[in-house]
């Protein structure tokens, strides 16, 4: 059976290695600074007590005032799950660091987020549109795309 790590628990453990990364937390998730995402990802994967080897999903939500990236994680050896989130501001050219170097499973999902939500991931080896064609105008999953 799986246990879900609370945001407070995760925040506590992340603070030991990355004191500036953690911004906020609640029962179910921890919020980290957008520019520290890939460092946080590395820490979550390589900390033997957390051992988050498996990235379930990367989601992006458009809250209009900001975008939110949501990472669902699972540790296969420790049998626990966690949710890490990050707020990304700006609608012109929002960017966040890619986690492909840590979890290759993020490859297509980050491309999809760029394609449909318009958040660019720096350090991604192939940051191109995936569902729509190059030259498509706009990002359809944004709330202002009608």
């Amino acid at each position: 059976m799986l246990t879900a790590l609370s945001g407070a628990d995760l925040a506590q453990r992340l603070r030991d290695t990355l004191p500036d990364a953690v911004l906020d937390w609640n029962d179910s998730a921890v919020w980290v600074a957008p520019d520290s995402i890939s460092a946080v990802a590395g820490a979550l994967r390589d900390n033997p007590e957390l051992d988050f080897q498996f990235l379930n999903a990367v989601s992006a939500v458009d809250f209009v005032a900001h975008f939110e990236l949501v990472y669902h994680l699972t540790s296969i050896s420790k049998r626990h799950t966690a949710v890490v989130r990050s707020r990304v501001y700006g609608r012109e050219e929002p960017t966040a660091p890619s986690v492909v170097g840590v979890w290759r499973g993020a490859d297509f999902q980050e491309r999809e987020i760029w394609d449909l939500m318009g958040i660019r991931f720096t350090g991604h080896p192939n940051m191109k549109r995936i569902m729509l064609w190059e030259g498509f105008d706009g990002h359809p999953l944004r709330k202002d795309f009608l």
Binding site: N56, V70, R104, L132
Partner: protein
């Protein structure tokens, strides 16, 4: 003396009979060896996630049928579990058993397609595929009895299932199970120890477990690589905590193992179906809920199931309205494609289609 050849780029798909739909991949060959692979996606993109933002919670069930159209029951189930988590409701026990039962029948149907086409792609044209389709037809007939549809079933609803099974469903199911026992044994006899199949697939395109995990691979492909991970066991939903079944695990993660794991899973699904028939009790099959559902503003849920292809998840965010504010679909087929390069590069042209087939993707789910 060495003969120097120039690399050649070949385009496969999207209109190609062996790419399981409209999958397109650009492959560069050096002679017969694959040196570069680039999947090109999006030919079946219908914007399901955006469409979901403009429909109410019950209407979206019909959109989920059209994701992986070979396992629509399981898609219904994943979505309904996410909505139930969002609303904080639980379906009645009979509905849970009906869902588990239909989801396992759907898993059998989906794996029969995967196995049939896998053998077809090895060159066994027609016969084995027709054997698997013969059994799959019977499952679709059963679904038709339940809800009137064979593929786009929309059988499940948040809070239960659309309607209880009709009385003549149960004898028909028994008849199918008895017949299928023999048909499956015949299929196993024909295929599992078939020398041609083994020579062609053993040791081809192995996937080490650490690569599989790093690439977020799930489902039979992950288990074929020797990782014991099944969401039905790890986070049981519906009636899976009431039934007893084993999780088949491969060893080397080659094409044969991926094929073998699916055949074994069909056996386990049969076990689950039989236990569901034994344990199911009379009772309501659906909660009384308002026609238009509303979740609390700010509520969020991530509902996941072990679908026939892997982990299928729905991430729902509510703003208090009648539709989800955001509906993200974590599709196993899309993410399992991350390993395409790993499986193909360094192998020969002749194994390309077989290796792609062993991943068992469905384009409705890849492109959404």
């Amino acid at each position: 003396m060495t003969i120097r050849t120039e690399p050649m780029t070949v385009n496969v798909g999207p209109q190609h009979p062996s790419t399981h739909g409209v999958f397109r991949v650009r492959i560069t060959f050096d002679g017969e060896d694959i040196v570069e692979v680039e999947p090109v996606l999006g030919y079946l993109h219908r914007g399901t996630e955006k469409l979901a933002e403009e429909r109410n919670y019950v209407q979206i069930v019909t959109l989920t049928d059209r994701l992986d159209y070979t396992s629509s029951m399981i898609n219904n189930q994943a979505y309904c579990l996410a909505v139930e988590q969002l609303l904080g409701i639980e379906p009645p026990p009979r509905a849970k058993y009906l869902r588990t039962l239909t989801a396992e029948l759907q898993r059998i149907a989906s794996h029969l397609i995967a196995v049939g086409f896998f053998v077809q792609e090895l060159g066994a044209f027609g016969t084995p595929l027709m054997y698997t389709f013969r059994s799959r037809e019977r499952i679709l007939d059963l679904f038709e009895m339940l809800c009137g549809a064979r593929i786009t079933v929309s059988y499940m609803r948040p809070g239960g299932v659309f309607a209880d099974a009709p009385d003549d469903f149960w004898p028909a199911l028994d008849q199918f199970l008895n017949d299928f026992e023999g048909e499956l044994a015949e299929l196993e006899d024909l295929l599992l120890n078939n020398e041609i199949l083994m020579v062609r697939t053993r040791g081809v395109s192995p996937l080490p477990p650490d690569v599989a995990i790093n690439c977020s691979v799930s489902g039979p492909v992950l288990r074929a690589s020797g990782v014991n991970w099944d969401w039905r066991k790890m986070a049981p939903y519906d009636a899976y905590d009431q039934v007893d079944f084993d999780v088949p695990i491969g060893s080397s993660g080659d094409n044969y193992d991926r094929f073998w794991v699916r055949v074994q899973e069909v056996r386990q699904s049969l076990r689950i179906v039989r236990q569901c028939i034994e344990q199911i009790e009379p009772g309501p099959a659906r909660l009384e809920l308002p026609l238009v559902l509303r979740a609390a503003p700010g509520a969020e849920a991530y509902g996941r199931v072990e679908a026939s292809k892997g982990e299928l998840g729905f991430f729902l965010v509510s703003d208090g309205g009648i539709s989800p504010y955001r509906c993200k679909i974590r599709s196993p087929s899309l993410i399992n494609l991350t390993i395409t390069e790993h499986l193909l590069i360094g192998w020969k042209l002749a194994d390309m289609i077989v290796s792609l087939g062993s991943v068992d993707i469905n384009m409705g789910e890849v492109d959404r």
